[in-house]
C-alpha cells in the first residue's frame, strides 16, 4: 500500500517537478483545511451558543452532531443561486469569489509550526494586514451590486467599521513588532522564547482582540449584519453557495485573525510535550472559543457608538501603548 | 523580466493610460482614478531605477513610500472636495463646477 503511494508520489514528482507539485499540494492542502476548519468552527459556534443558552445544539447528524454542518453545506450547494434583476450582475457574482480569495493568502505565512509556514516572508505580518483590506473591497462590491438599501447600508457600515478598527489593530501589532524587531512571523514567535508577549503587552493584546472581533464583524460589533435593523447586511440578497462563500470567508477570517493573535501574543506554536502544530491549533481554537463566548454574551453597539469607541478609546490607547513600548525598548536597549 | 527597459515601458504605458483617462473623463472621481494610475507609473519607475541603477537600494523605496503618502493625502483632499462639491451641485461632473462662482 505505502509502496504504491510512494511510487505514485515519485512519478508525480518526476512529471510535474518539485515546484509545481509543491504549489498544487500546498493549495489543495490550504483549501481542504479552510473547508474543514469552517465546518468545525460552525459546529463549535453552534455548540457554544447552545450550551450558553441552556440548549444542546446540533446532535442528530453524526457523533455530537459534527456532521450537521456538512449536511447544511450540501443544502447550501444544492440551493438555487438567485441574482436579483436590478443587481449589477458582474460585481454581484464576483464579490463572493473576491471575498474568499484574500482570506486564503495569509495561510502562506502563518507559522503553524517551526517548519510549517509555506513561505516565511520577511514581511509576513504586513501581508496579512494588507490582504484583510481587500476583503473589505469585496464586501463593498457585493453590497453595492445587490442594489438593495439594506445591503448597501450594511456594506457601508461594514467598511467604515473595518477601516476604523484596522488602525488600532495595526498599532497594537506594531508594538509587538517593536519588541520582536521583525515583521517576520517566525521571528516574532522566536522572540517569545522566554515569555509570551501578552505578559509585556496586555493592553495591546486586548486591543488586538477587540479590533479583531470588529474586523471579523462579529458581535458585539456585528452592526453590518444587525438583523434587527438591517436584515442581513451586505449579504441580504445572496443565496446558495454564494452566501456559503461569505460564510466560509467569515469563519476562515476568524481563524486567521485568531492565529495572528496567537502568533503575536501567545507564543505561537510554543508549548511543552506536544508538537508545535497541536499547541498552535489548541491555542487558536481556545481563543476562537473566547470570541464566540463574547458574541453570545453582549448586546450590539449602536453604529455611532461603535465608531466613537474606535476613535475615542481604542486609537488613543493604542497610540499611547505604542509610544510607551517604543520608549521602554529604547531605554532598555 | 529582468531588464530595466521592460519596467520602463510598463510604467510608460500605465502612465499613458492614466493620461488618456485624465484627459477624456468628465467626472472628478474618474480623473482622480487616472491620477492614481499615473502616480503608480512613477512609483514603478522609481523602484526600477533603484533596482537596476542606484547605489543605495533603499532610496528608491523611500521615494515610493513618499509617493504613497502624497497619494493618500491627495486622495483625502480630493474626495472631500468632491463630496463638498456634490452637496452643492448634486453632480460630480467637472463641467458644472463653474457654477461655483458667486
Amino acid at each position: 500500500m505505502t509502496g504504491w503511494l510512494h511510487d505514485t508520489w515519485q512519478w508525480l514528482l518526476a512529471v510535474f517537478g518539485p515546484v509545481a507539485l509543491a504549489l498544487v499540494v500546498g493549495l489543495v492542502a490550504v483549501l481542504v483545511w479552510v473547508q474543514v476548519n469552517a465546518l468545525f468552527l460552525v459546529w463549535l459556534e453552534r455548540k457554544v451558543a447552545a450550551h450558553i443558552q441552556l440548549r444542546i445544539g446540533p446532535k442528530e447528524v453524526g457523533p455530537f452532531g459534527l456532521l450537521q454542518t456538512v449536511v447544511d453545506g450540501i443544502k447550501l450547494v444544492s440551493k438555487e443561486l438567485i441574482t436579483p434583476r436590478p443587481a449589477n450582475w458582474v460585481l454581484f457574482v464576483l464579490s463572493p469569489l473576491l471575498v474568499f480569495t484574500p482570506v486564503l493568502l495569509p495561510f502562506l505565512v502563518l507559522p503553524f509550526a517551526p517548519s510549517l509556514p509555506l513561505r516565511d516572508l520577511n514581511v509576513g505580518l504586513m501581508l496579512i494586514f494588507a490582504f484583510s483590506g481587500l476583503n473589505v473591497l469585496a464586501i463593498l462590491m457585493g453590497g453595492w451590486a445587490s442594489n438593495n438599501k439594506y445591503a448597501l447600508l450594511g456594506a457601508i457600515r461594514s467598511v467604515a467599521q473595518n477601516v476604523a478598527y484596522e488602525i488600532p489593530l495595526l498599532l497594537s501589532a506594531m508594538s509587538v513588532v517593536i519588541m520582536a524587531g521583525s515583521l517576520r512571523l517566525g521571528d516574532i514567535v522566536a522572540a517569545q522564547e522566554g515569555m509570551w508577549f501578552v505578559v509585556y503587552q496586555p493592553v495591546a493584546a486586548i486591543l488586538y482582540l477587540v479590533g479583531a472581533t470588529a474586523e471579523t464583524n462579529r458581535a458585539p460589533f456585528d452592526i453590518p449584519e444587525a438583523e434587527s435593523e438591517l436584515v442581513a447586511g451586505f449579504h441580504t440578497e445572496y443565496s446558495g453557495m454564494r452566501f456559503g462563500l461569505f460564510f466560509l470567508a467569515e469563519y476562515t477570517n476568524m481563524f486567521v485573525v485568531a492565529s495572528v493573535a496567537i502568533t503575536l501574543f501567545f507564543g505561537g506554536w510554543r508549548g511543552p510535550f506536544l508538537p508545535g502544530v497541536w499547541w498552535f491549533l489548541l491555542k487558536v481554537y481556545l481563543l476562537i472559543f473566547v470570541v464566540m463566548w463574547v458574541r453570545w454574551t453582549f448586546p450590539r453597539l449602536r453604529f455611532d457608538q461603535l465608531m466613537n469607541f474606535a476613535w475615542k478609546y481604542m486609537i488613543p490607547i493604542a497610540l499611547l501603548n505604542l509610544l510607551v513600548t517604543a520608549l521602554v525598548m529604547k531605554l532598555v536597549g | 523580466m529582468n531588464s530595466l527597459t521592460v519596467y520602463l515601458f510598463v510604467a510608460l504605458l500605465l502612465f499613458c493610460i492614466g493620461l488618456f483617462g485624465l484627459l477624456q473623463r468628465r467626472s472628478l472621481i474618474g480623473m482622480l482614478i487616472s491620477i492614481e494610475l499615473m502616480l503608480n507609473a512613477a512609483a514603478i519607475n522609481f523602484l526600477a531605477f533603484n533596482r537596476f541603477l542606484a547605489p543605495d537600494p533603499a532610496v528608491g523605496q523611500i521615494l515610493v513610500l513618499f509617493v504613497m503618502g502624497i497619494a493618500a493625502a491627495e486622495a483625502a483632499i480630493a474626495l472631500s472636495l468632491i463630496l463638498a462639491l456634490f452637496r452643492r451641485l448634486r453632480s460630480i461632473n467637472i463641467e458644472q463646477a463653474h457654477d461655483l462662482r458667486g
Binding site: 451558543a49 450558553i52 443558552q53 441552556l54 440548549r55 438599501k149 458581535a219 458585539p220 456585528d222 444587525a226 438583523e227 434587527s228 435593523e229 436584515v231 453570545w296 454574551t297 453582549f298 448586546p299 450590539r300 453597539l301 449602536r302 453604529f303 455611532d304 457608538q305 | 452643492r88 451641485l89 448634486r90 453632480s91 457654477d99
Partner: protein, 370 residues
C-alpha cells in the same frame, strides 16, 4: 440654476409590516434625513379581527375566550379583567379563594409577559442569550399555569363568579420552586444586562418621555411609571384582593428606555412578592360563587372597569340592555395609547434608536388592533 439642482436628502423607509423587530405586524413609515428620523407614522390594523364587533354578536359568556386573544402574552390578565368587569356589573361576589387563585395566576402571567418582553427587547438590541434565559423562566411559568388552566397561552381560566379549576399540588410545588429560582435569575439578569456598559449606552437617555407627554397621550403602565408618575391601577383604583397585599410600585426617574426596562424588572420582583403573599394567605373554600347562573347578564346601564394589565391601564366599558348579548363592549387597551406616543419619541433620533425605543414600549400589536 443652483437652486434647481438642490435635492433634499430625505427618503422614506418602511419598517415593517414584516420586519424582524416590529414583533407582529406593525408598519412604521419613517421619513429619514440620512440616518436620522424626521417623522414617524405608525400604520396599524394589520391584525384587526373585530373583537368589539364580535362582542356585539355573542353572549357575555361566549366572549370569554376572545379575551385571551387580544393580548396573548398576558391572556390571564385580560380574562381576569373581563370577569371582574362583568361580575361588578352583575353584582356577583366572588369567593375569596377564587379571587386569590386568580391573583396568583394573573401575577404569574404578568411575570411571564415581562420576561418575554425582556428577552425580545434584548434580542432587538442584538443580545441573543438573555432571550433564551427569559424563555427558560417563562417556560416554568407556562408549565405551572398549564397545571391548573390546562393550557399554555390562551388560558380562558376565569369564570363569572370564580375559576374553572382548583389549584393542585403540582401547581403549588411549582410556584414554590419557581419563586427563589426567578429571584436568582433576576440577579443574573442585572449582572448580565442591567449593568452591562453596552446596554447602558444603548438605552440611557434614549427616547425620553416626560410625565406631561405621558399624560397628554394617556400612556399608562410601566411606560408611565418609568417617567416617574406613580399610577398603578392596582393602587389607584384597588380591585380584587390587591388592597390586602403588600407591594410597591417601582418608579423611574428619567423616562428613558433604560428606566422603562428597569421598572419592568423591578415589577417582576414585586409580582413575585404578591404571589408569595397570596400563596401564604390562600384561604380555603369554594372556587365558584354559589347561585351564579351559567350566563349572567348585567342589568341595563353603562359600566366601566379599570384594570392594570402587564402593559398598562386596561379599561373595559360595557353597555348592557339587560339582554343576553352586550350592546357595546369597548376595550381601552394600553398599547394603543402607548404606541400613539411613539412618533413624538422618535423624532430626531437615529434609526438604530428607533428599534430600542419601539422595543422599550412593550407593544403587543394584536392588542392594539383588536
Amino acid at each position: 440654476m443652483l437652486r434647481k439642482t438642490l435635492i433634499h436628502d430625505t427618503f422614506y423607509l418602511n419598517l415593517g409590516p414584516q420586519h424582524p423587530s416590529t414583533h407582529g405586524v406593525l408598519r412604521l413609515l419613517l421619513r429619514l434625513e440620512g440616518e436620522r428620523v424626521v417623522e414617524c407614522q405608525p400604520v396599524i390594523g394589520y391584525s384587526h379581527r373585530g373583537h368589539e364587533h364580535m362582542a356585539q354578536n355573542r353572549s357575555w359568556l361566549q366572549f370569554l375566550p376572545n379575551t385571551s386573544r387580544m393580548d396573548y402574552l398576558s391572556a390571564l390578565l385580560y380574562n381576569h379583567a373581563y370577569c371582574l368587569a362583568v361580575e361588578r356589573a352583575c353584582g356577583i361576589t366572588v369567593p375569596p379563594r377564587a379571587e386569590y387563585i386568580r391573583v396568583i395566576c394573573a401575577e404569574l402571567n404578568r411575570i411571564a409577559s415581562h420576561l418575554l418582553w425582556f428577552g425580545a427587547y434584548l434580542l432587538d438590541l442584538g443580545a441573543f442569550t438573555p432571550f433564551l434565559y427569559a424563555f427558560d423562566d417563562r417556560e416554568d411559568i407556562l408549565a405551572i399555569l398549564g397545571e391548573v388552566t390546562g393550557s399554555r397561552l390562551t388560558y380562558c381560566y376565569c369564570r363569572f363568579g370564580g375559576v374553572a379549576r382548583d389549584l393542585n399540588q403540582a401547581f403549588l410545588d411549582g410556584v414554590r420552586a419557581f419563586i427563589p429560582k426567578l429571584r436568582r435569575r433576576l440577579k443574573d439578569y442585572h449582572t448580565l444586562v442591567s449593568k452591562n456598559v453596552i446596554f447602558l449606552n444603548r438605552t440611557k437617555g434614549i427616547g425620553v418621555m416626560s410625565p406631561e407627554q405621558a399624560r397628554d397621550y394617556a400612556v399608562t403602565g410601566p411606560n408611565l411609571r418609568a417617567s416617574g408618575v406613580n399610577y398603578d391601577v392596582r393602587k389607584a383604583e384597588p380591585y380584587s384582593v390587591y388592597p390586602e397585599l403588600d407591594f410597591e410600585v417601582p418608579l423611574g426617574e428619567h423616562g428613558d428606555c433604560y428606566d422603562r426596562y428597569y421598572v419592568r424588572l423591578l415589577e417582576m420582583e414585586q409580582s413575585l412578592r404578591i404571589v408569595e403573599q397570596a400563596l401564604e394567605r390562600l384561604p380555603s373554600g369554594p372556587i365558584r360563587a354559589a347561585g351564579v347562573e351559567q350566563e349572567p347578564a348585567p342589568p341595563p346601564g353603562a359600566y366601566h372597569f379599570a384594570y392594570e394589565s402587564a402593559r398598562g391601564q386596561l379599561g373595559i366599558y360595557l353597555v348592557s340592555d339587560g339582554g343576553r348579548i352586550p350592546v357595546r363592549m369597548k376595550w381601552r387597551v394600553p398599547s394603543f395609547s402607548n404606541l400613539s406616543v411613539l412618533p413624538e419619541l422618535l423624532a430626531g433620533t437615529l434609526v438604530a434608536d428607533t428599534i430600542a425605543i419601539l422595543g422599550s414600549l412593550d407593544l403587543v400589536i394584536p392588542e392594539i388592533d383588536r
